[in-house]
């Protein structure tokens, strides 16, 4: 079985937990504290006793001193929904080391961390009409998770990134951390991210770009054929056009980052030739994506 990651990467990711900026409601008891009162050992507050309360949580010391029954409340512990949204649109096939491959490795890393943290990890394939599998939990589920990532995508006609994101946002997926692993090459992608945020998801946008995307080495009179099936564009690849492209890319990336961060999310730009170790150290750990 292909576990996608090297043993060194597993060791690097061991002990890390996904650190969302806001708490998300859980569906089953998990290992994460929630704002709701629950049964963990984490003290939350006091309240007056009401009939039927569990006397195990009565604060006997307060009763003895004040002669007033006061109940201790505790924060509840629930699981976190981690949605790993993996862009599998045609544009991800570009790059010497393809953006799709880089995205899959990052998806494996995020998934492994989520599973180890007891989170409900749901891998979602963007750009393909493919239903997501059931949420996976626990280290033991990593095998199935990796198998799903390594599986060939369906050969159905691809859909755009924004359409896929909007479709996910419109689904009944439990709000949680939505980790979008994509090049973001869709003019509607920022709006689609805002739709995710609007549905209560904390969007973590990891934009993966290749050298060709960042610094295209084009020359002459060209007809650019859109890898996503968009309208071809005629250009004369001179310095002015290349400069305009770089400015458009910077604006688009800024819009993606703004859309992700507006709902309390995160944004990072990753090059396809960046090493996973560097990303974990410099971004995930240093910027507090994980703890």
């Amino acid at each position: 079985m292909d576990l996608l990651l090297e043993p060194r990467a597993f060791r690097l990711l061991e002990g890390l937990r996904i650190a969302p900026r806001k708490s998300q409601p859980g569906r089953v008891r998990g290992e994460r504290l929630t704002r709701r009162a629950g049964l963990s050992i984490e003290f939350a507050d006091y309240r007056d006793y009401a009939e039927g309360d569990d006397l195990r949580h009565l604060d006997w010391n307060v009763l003895a001193r004040l002669d007033s029954p006061v109940m201790r409340t505790y924060r509840d512990e629930e699981d976190l929904a981690v949605h790993v949204l993996l862009d599998d649109s045609p544009s991800m096939a570009f790059g010497e080391r393809t953006k799709g491959r880089a995205a899959r490795d990052l998806a494996a890393a995020f998934g492994y961390v989520g599973l180890l943290g007891g989170d409900a990890v749901t891998p979602v394939r963007l750009g393909r009409r493919e239903p997501p599998p059931a949420a996976l939990r626990g280290r033991a589920a990593y095998g199935r998770y990796a198998a799903w990532l390594g599986r060939e995508a369906s050969q159905d006609a691809p859909t755009s990134l924004a359409t896929s994101l909007r479709a996910f946002a419109g689904s009944r997926a439990r709000p949680g951390v939505a980790i979008v692993l994509s090049d973001g090459f869709d003019p509607e992608a920022p709006n689609a991210l805002r739709a995710l945020v609007g549905r209560g998801h904390e969007v973590w946008c990891v934009q993966i770009l290749s050298e060709l995307d960042l610094d295209p080495d084009l020359e002459g009179d060209l007809r650019l054929v859109d890898g996503e099936g968009g309208k071809p564009t005629d250009i004369t690849a001179n310095s002015g056009v290349l400069k305009a492209y770089r400015e458009n890319l910077a604006r688009h990336n800024a819009a993606l980052a703004d859309a992700a961060k507006r709902g309390g999310g995160r944004y990072a730009l990753v090059r396809t030739d960046d090493k996973l170790e560097d990303f974990v150290r410099d971004t995930l750990k240093r910027e507090g994506w994980v703890r």
Binding site: D183, F185, D186, L212, L222, E228, T233, T236, V241
Partner: protein
């Protein structure tokens, strides 16, 4: 402004049409698949064209290409402007260095003025102009070939010196036209005073001939003749002076015998006339000289000399067709004065020392020497028995006539099969009989060659001029050891037994001569005066004199005749100055800018 090839302008229309048509074609772009196109601005620059037509759009590249094309077509049409100047694109200067060019009516001299004109033309030459210089001296020569190297050309021009000789301007002009043979727009510029022999046998081809007169005019009094003759009354010395000016001229004539003055008198010569003076000369003297001091503008003809040795001067008549090899070999002897005739004159060559029959049957003559080349007549020292083809040389006698002459290996097409008569003696033999026969009688000496030189390659051999020189010595007698009087500038040869002869100029400059084939040819006696020639350890005086009245007549000639066609002197002839080069440079700059713009946009 005009155009050398105005028809080339028509090319602009079709070529511009092609350029515009290329812009009307729509571009077929190379397709490239990219992740997404929405980030790319739809900016295109029409920098090249391809298939299918489209609407013509304003384009700086199109404008620059049409501009470059217009400039290129303009260059092809060779735009010209009319300018004044001696030099053209291809110019050969013919510089007359004859004696008359030494006249000082133009200071410092006509020759210096001609050099100045040539120098100015060289310095004003434009890039691409090519010039050559031919010296019209006694032996015309190319001083520098066609080229564009002003520094070297000026250096070669500065090194050029005038002569006191009679120049062969006709040969120089033929040489000049040969230098620019077939070149369009070539110009032959003759810088001369026009005092030279009429030019015949001249074809200027495509070249234009420009004559620039450099003389202003001036009076000249010169010694026209100096002769010595033995009469029953004793030896007489005659001197003739000619006044070429329009005013009477008085001068002092001094006559010398072996360097000692024997007579001196004042003579007044009327305008445009000759006045002679005869005086009894000391009989034993070997050299007679005459000197005048007229303070005129030409010094070369103020001195003359004549040798009293009968063998020191040989009048030779060549009878037959043209034979430049024989004539050149005869002229190499400093004693020879050569005349040419197709047939023997009725007087039988009276007055000539030697008559040479070249390829024509010999006839009885009154000369003391006869040279028969190829065809023996009834008076010849041989009896003709027939003819033979391609004989083989078999050997020659040891005789002064055959000294330095090797007939072995000479190709002879046909000879007369002869046998010597009387006292005649065969000096060289072949498989078909005698090749060279010599006869010596009290009244006449005869040399017979059994083949005409032009029917063999003998004239191309080193031995040919030596054979002619030996024959002249045999027929005319060897000159004594007295002074040798030669025409200034005229090449002559002297026999050399060993070593290298040296010639000391009148100013003391020593020149070492390179002998070839037992003789040395001397071309360096170009100025009138006394030279010292050292040959085989013996010193001999060589006196160079002008010997031609034509050079004394220094009146400038404003119109010369080239093959009977008049050519008038022009102060500054017109030339068409091309200016296609700056246009071509501009065209290149436009193309360079167009390329830069293309590269920037693409």
């Amino acid at each position: 402004m005009s155009f050398a090839y105005p028809g080339a302008l028509i090319l602009f229309l079709p070529l511009a049409g092609v350029v515009v048509a290329l812009y009307l074609l729509r571009m077929r772009r190379r397709e490239l698949r990219v992740p997404a196109t929405f980030l790319w601005p739809a900016q295109t620059e029409e920098v090249r064209a391809n298939a299918l037509f489209q609407r013509l759009k304003p384009s700086w590249l199109l404008f620059l290409q049409l501009l470059a094309l217009a400039l290129a077509v303009f260059c092809l049409a060779r735009p010209q402007t009319r300018q004044r100047g001696l030099a053209g694109e291809v110019t050969v200067f013919v510089l007359d260095s004859s004696a008359s060019m030494g006249a000082t009516d133009v200071l410092p001299s006509r020759f210096a003025e001609a050099k100045r004109l040539a120098r100015e033309a060289i310095l004003s030459a434009r890039a691409g102009d090519r010039m050559a210089l031919v010296e019209a001296g006694p032996v015309p020569r190319v001083v520098f070939p066609l080229g564009n190297d002003p520094a070297r050309q000026i250096a070669a021009l500065d090194a050029l010196e005038g002569t006191d000789a009679d120049a062969d301007v006709g040969e120089a002009m033929r040489l000049a036209t040969a230098v620019v043979s077939g070149q369009d727009g070539a110009r032959v510029v003759l810088l001369s005073d026009g005092d030279f022999a009429p030019i015949q046998n001249f074809s200027q081809g495509k070249a234009a001939v420009v004559y620039q007169n450099v003389g202003k005019g001036g009076t000249n009094l010169g010694i026209e003749a100096l002769g010595v003759t033995d009469t029953p009354k004793g030896r007489l010395l005659f001197a003739g002076l000619r006044n070429y000016g329009g005013q009477p001229w008085e001068t002092t004539l001094t006559l010398y015998a072996d360097g000692k003055a024997v007579d001196s008198l004042k003579l007044k010569v009327a305008a445009h006339s000759t006045q002679g003076h005869t005086v009894a000369a000391p009989p034993g003297a070997r050299l007679y000289e005459a000197r005048i001091d007229p303070k005129d503008v030409l010094k070369a003809d103020d001195y003359a000399a004549v040798s009293a040795d009968p063998a020191a001067s040989l009048r030779v008549l060549k009878v037959g067709g043209e034979d430049p090899f024989l004539e050149r070999a005869l002229a190499l002897d400093p004693r020879v004065t050569l005349d040419r005739a197709a047939t023997l004159p009725p007087d039988g060559g009276a007055g000539y020392d030697i008559v040479a029959f070249d390829g024509v049957p010999s006839q009885p003559t009154k000369s003391r020497g006869v040279l028969i080349l190829g065809k023996a007549g009834p008076d010849a020292p041989v009896r003709v028995d027939g003819a033979a083809k391609r004989p083989k040389f078999s050997g020659s006698e040891t005789a002064p006539l055959m000294k330095g002459v090797d007939l072995d290996g000479v190709y002879i097409d046909e000879i007369e099969r002869v046998s010597p008569k009387g006292s005649a003696e065969a000096l060289a033999r072949s498989s078909a009989g005698p090749l060279v026969v010599a006869d010596r009688t009290p009244i006449r000496r005869t040399v017979y060659l059994a083949f005409a030189p032009l029917q063999s390659d003998f004239p191309l051999q080193v031995g040919f001029p030596i054979f002619v020189a030996n024959a002249l010595d045999f027929l005319g007698g060897t000159a004594g050891g007295g002074p040798l009087v030669v025409a200034a500038g005229k090449p002559f040869s002297v026999p050399v037994a060993q070593g290298e002869p040296t010639l000391i100029d009148p100013d003391g400059t020593k020149t070492t001569l390179k002998p070839a084939g037992g003789a040395a040819t001397i071309r360096e006696a170009r100025r009138v005066g006394k030279y010292e020639l050292e040959v085989d350890g013996k010193r001999r005086t060589v006196i160079a004199t002008l010997q031609t009245p034509r050079e004394s007549n220094i009146a400038p000639v404003t119109q010369i005749a080239l093959r009977d066609q008049p050519v008038r002197s022009l102060a500054a002839p017109l030339r068409f100055g091309d200016f296609w080069r700056p246009l071509a440079t501009l065209c290149l700059l436009v193309l360079g800018f167009e390329w830069w713009l293309y590269a920037k946009r693409s």
